[in-house]
Amino acid sequence: MSSLPVRAAVVATGQTDHGRRLDASMAEIAREAIDRCLESCGLRFDDIDAVVAGNMEMFEGIYLVDQYFVGALGALGKPLYKLNTGGTVGASAALACYHRVASCRHRRVLGVGFQKQSEGSTQSAITTVGDPVWERAVMAGAIGNFASMASTYIAESGVTQEQAAKVAVKARRYACLNPHAHLKIPDITVEQVLDSEMLAFPIHRLDFCPSSDGACAIVVAAEDLAGDLVEHPAWVHAVATAHDQQYMGDSPKRLAVMRSLQAAAKKAYALAGIEHPLRDFDVAEIYEPASYAELALYENLSFCDMGDGGRLIDEGVTLMDGQLPVNPSGGVLSTNPVGATAMIRVAEAAMQVMGQAGEHQIPDVRRALATGYGGNAWTDIMILSRERPRASAEVSTG
């Protein structure tokens, strides 16, 4: 028992070229990401002990989707875990990969998140997130939900449409440095964001994430294998998950005060020894479905005081050359295939630690933060580091 948890690291990632992929089926986009992932660490399907898959079935309308795609997922004859947790599913799957290795059950686990939103009715699928008796009849899609949440956040923090627009600009410009990103708008300006179609007040079209086709794959490996698979493994230092209550109006201040994110961050930061996130992290890949959400995430992740998120974007703290670069990949605002999106955050954070982020690499990354968001303010967190965690006997449990 005292030899558990086994220390584990992300040793490889792969992503599709996200976008509107009429050229590929779901199986093909899953394989595109998986092939790139396995190629990067030199593993083959035979080397993989278990597969964890994330996809939200209602989007493409495929029941038992993991079973249908078992071949493409490389899971034939293996344990196949199908997770289904909404927007967080990609991160939930990454966490499951970690737990399978950390518990010494498996040694090399493949995680895959995939979604082809062009193949289904995104709005129908999102409508069914709402409770059928209490919420569905009045819902105004994800946009209505986020716009309402943004109003609560604005009332608390006083952030302006311009500050939110700066987040949108940052994301789409950085996406141009990311060969996989969906929405790339190199010359985007704050004015363009504010001039874009108002979807639901105050959310403009360019304040909001796209609907993408894409897949992401990661390999998590046990400590004795990790160093042979990649030069700088991205060691998992902490994982945490927290959800909120059942209905969308239960959390009093919704986006302004994200109870679940605060709870998960508290646990994860304690486990990883994070005391000053702005200083202790070198990069963060956080799940921001809308521009306002990113500012609220800064506050709830303790990058700054509550209410102060706007200042961070104004002062450039979260730009690639700032104190804590946030979403150099372009984030969710640039790429959002729901089943993959949260795994892309983990993958991008891992790429930064492994030194594999190419044009959007932040120099000298030691510690990276990845978060997932979905459902009714659900949260997953994973903290990755270039340093191996201390052995379990020395770590105090949260």
């Binding site: 009849a137 009045v138 819902m139 716009a147």
Partner: protein
């Protein structure tokens, strides 16, 4: 497929198969919702569930996940309240109950009934952002008794009191 092949793929020739699946469900509202919607239909009252700590939740439910306590008391709340979140929607959405697009713009948001600790989503009688704001007072507009069936739609929408 390599990215070169993908780039060369002739999207004009891409085959896409259209398919529609119609999924029908009969959702049992259950004890708490039945109690709530019966009171709404019969008496035009809004009820919340309360736990031993005095937390009041709408929608009512068997357990308050935050306190971990059962919610076995009923308490009347509203019908007035405040906006906890609000927006004006400009993008047409299909009303899932009618299959018809809602005419835009319309108000939408979270209403917290007086006496309740949680809010519910509903429609707002507003079309301009200037009319709405977090903290503004609202009131449920009930359909007449003969039109009420025991569902969320028994409340037509919420009107602003200020």
């Amino acid at each position: 497929m390599s990215s070169t092949e993908a780039a060369a793929f002739n999207r004009e020739q891409a085959i896409r198969i259209e398919q529609q699946i119609t999924l029908q469900y009969r959702f049992a509202a259950g004890y708490y919702a039945t109690h709530f919607f019966t009171a709404l239909r019969e008496e035009g009252k809004i009820l919340g569930s309360r736990d031993a700590e005095g937390n009041v939740m709408v929608p009512p439910r068997p357990v308050n996940g935050l306190s971990g306590l059962p919610m076995d008391e009923w308490v009347e709340v509203g019908p007035d309240g405040v906006l906890a979140g609000c927006t004006i929607v400009y993008v047409p959405f299909i009303d899932p109950m009618t299959g018809v697009q809602r005419p835009v713009p319309y108000g939408f948001g979270l209403m917290r009934f007086t006496g309740a600790d949680t809010s519910i989503y509903h429609l707002l009688d507003a079309t301009e952002p200037e009319q709405i704001g977090v903290g503004k007072r609202v009131e449920a507009v009930f359909k007449p008794r003969e039109e009420r069936t025991g569902s969320l739609a028994d409340i037509r929408n919420f009107r602003l009191l200020d």
